[in-house]
Symmetry: C2
């Protein structure tokens, strides 16, 4: 029997990120200035991002070299294994071959540090001493804390208050890497104080936390802001995942028929699948599936329009599938998938028919995650369960038809710090939310009439 | 620069366990029947252990083959990497070379499943349908739950009540692998009911939980009991760690001058270091150091005597370093190191001068663990911090003397489910306990006058 794990040596580490913008059949719609409706100039982002990242954001170069100090840090856990899920295949009785790329092996436990390390490095290069960000469940905040600690940058995390209280372990993880973590809204920013006055007992929200982190960065000279998904440069940094996977499939003498990733803002999905897009454009038959919650069905039910990236309307307008920037999704446990929009690049590829989307209920996803933990071993993050459920669906289809398809997915993170969600599953305290049609219709009314 | 991680392929998986009993300069003192004071016959253990494990317990064969179904499960995460800690070396400014064997990569997150899988397999072979055990902090309970789930055996875990309440995530992990977990003392066993009557508001203890698990196994026909450390067969199963490490050092063209492992019952320490003992006996200069808490200094301060393995005096008498079976250590966070005794084999090697011991305070250990997390990435378990602290001490000695020693330690587990202990460190809510001299003197009065 072949090895379960297909490994690459450190010498086979990826040297350049892949930029899918170079291969698009039709260019991406630019971000717009909400005031003028005109395309945003790179300069407009300078108060909060380093110039090198802004240039990556708009680049159409196919390959962008990874600087050595970034590779040096990534080598702490990369290359990650591509694993053949023999035990899962056996449990499903499927003729399909199932593989997963194990991104849970990074110190913070997810794919997030692939971009956090790059962003910390470029900020450091441009003399930045402090980086702010927001975090919901805390995977992104802990990844940025880890990365900033590597490059000796202060890290300030505005953590949604309800998560700050419910997920104390994520906060502890950030402390170990020297980040400061405050429950948002705080009394440290103008908008934070305004939120507190207007909503005295608020649990906080990602929208409020973004506003605080952006205000903090914009009002301090040596401070920048960092985002963990959605933007082009973030997706670019994640392509190490798919580039490694392509090498590993070559070593295994196999090639995927179906690629699957869960998508909240879109970064782990993009990082895993974009490097395969050129093959598809050249005629290779690959299905590329982004999975999302039924409770927040951006790609499957939202319109493709210009909208704000945050609730507070502080960001530029982005052309994307959106449920409306004021839409607040129901409280599913996959906190990383509770976002009203989707990366413009993912949205564009969906619009072009290059990728497809599938919406899933959380209980079926937890069932799939538990099957994974009982066969392959590691407890998946609730977000990752959305990828695994789609794998199970496709593998069972193969069982029916007898097709020996090759199905690969991105194991975006472990669930060691999400075990309370599994408790709720066992206590039958999880509910499936219907598509929140009325709420979305209301939210879409506030999407600007542009583009 | 050399690769950080020295990997073995799955084909290089270890095929036989190494039994140090074959190489002892002087044989191990046998366990005694507490009633008669005579050596225990293997038959006496039959009500609670399968015969194959009892035979391993008393074997003096040097190599014992690992059955294929066990190897098949171990391959889910083995061979584990041997990692060169370049970043830690740099932070310490030491000329020493530091390596660690990463045992945190197993699904339950520690070395414990190396024996749990073997024990579940042998019990299954002998028709056992259900296994009971006790657990303190929960690393052993979750490893046995994982292993029993693999072989379709029911798993019943008696978890010390205070941990059951303070560490709900460990309990959740056990649930995902289908184990039943009860806070001990329960009302399900005679001794549990007796404990509850005598100590109405007790937090429970490992001693009580062992009594419950043993009674449950002894009073049910198809049920056996399983122990996660101390016994010879448990230590045997852990030798895959050191055997892999030896191969990896050969690949790296290096060899350790100092080997370090933390020791509670002694299993991770033994598994990592015993395979190097024959080299030492042949004249190789290796220091082998077991580290333990100052608050529970079994090897450094206890006498080498026959004593009971549990507080309730249900076990045979074992010749070991002991602080007395009624000694209850202070509440340090390294729950896995809070044991009054030590594996007889580890004790024997200490008595023979083959290994040495070092006692450490918990705050210095947390400091070392945080340094590790900030340099190498992964958050260590509080137990593992006791190994890391000793590594730091030895590496700093090398800095002083300029010696380029090779120091290797066993990274026995990650601390993802122990982050609340790190919180306490940052909140300055951890205390160092003095050597509890008076309490130990009292406890030693109850050690039987045998041997």
């Amino acid at each position: 029997m072949a090895d379960r794990r297909i490994m690459l040596s450190e010498k086979e580490m990826i040297q350049s990120w892949y930029n899918v913008a170079a291969d698009l059949p039709k260019p991406l719609a630019p971000p717009l200035n909400p005031g003028t409706g005109e395309p945003l100039t790179p300069d407009a982002l300078k108060p909060i991002f380093p110039m090198s990242l802004i240039m990556q954001e708009v680049s159409t170069e196919r390959w962008i070299d990874i600087p050595d100090p970034i590779k040096e840090v990534l080598l702490s856990w990369r290359p990650t294994p591509l694993v053949r899920a023999f035990n899962l295949e056996k449990a499903l009785g499927t003729p399909a071959r199932i593989y997963y790329k194990n991104e849970s092996l990074s110190p913070p436990g997810s794919h997030k540090p692939n971009t956090a390390v790059a962003q910390a490095y470029y900020n450091k290069q441009e003399g930045i001493k402090r980086i702010t960000t927001e975090t919901g469940a805390g995977q992104w905040g802990s990844a940025l804390a880890f990365a900033c600690n590597k490059f000796d940058i202060e890290c300030m995390v505005y953590m949604v208050r309800v998560s700050f209280e419910q997920k104390p372990m994520r906060k502890s993880l950030m402390h170990v890497w020297n980040a400061e973590v405050l429950p948002s809204p705080t009394d440290q920013t103008n908008c934070g104080r305004a939120f507190r006055e207007r909503f005295p007992n608020t649990t906080g929200s990602l929208g409020m936390a973004i506003s605080e982190a952006v205000e903090d960065a914009a009002t301090h000279d040596d401070t920048n802001y960092s985002l963990g998904s959605v933007l082009n440069h973030v997706l670019l940094h994640q392509t190490v995942i798919g580039l490694e996977a392509k090498k590993q499939f070559e070593l295994a003498g196999d090639y995927p028929d179906i690629l699957i990733g869960c998508a909240g803002g879109g970064s782990n999905f993009s990082g895993f699948t974009f490097p395969f897009v050129p093959d598809k454009l050249k005629g290779k038959e690959i299905r590329i599936i982004a999975t999302e919650p039924e409770a927040c069905p951006t790609l499957t039910k939202g319109p493709f329009r210009y909208d704000f990236g945050d609730t507070g309307k502080m960001t530029p307008l982005l052309k994307m599938y959106t449920l409306g920037h004021i839409f607040v999704p129901p409280g599913i446990h996959a906190g990383g998938l509770r976002y009203h929009g989707m990366a413009p690049m993912v949205s564009h590829l969906k619009d072009l028919g290059i990728i497809e989307a599938m919406a899933l209920h959380q209980i079926e996803c937890f069932e799939a995650g538990i099957l994974f933990a009982q066969t392959e071993g590691t407890i998946p993050a609730p977000e990752t369960n959305h990828a695994i459920r789609a794998v199970v669906i496709e593998a069972l289809k193969c069982k029916e038809t007898g097709e020996e398809k090759c199905i690969a997915f991105n194991f975006s993170g472990h669930g060691h710090l999400d075990l309370s969600a599994y408790d709720k599953y066992y206590e039958k305290d999880l509910e499936d939310y219907e598509y929140p049609e009325e709420k979305i219709r209301e939210a879409l009314k506030e999407v600007p009439e542009i583009g």
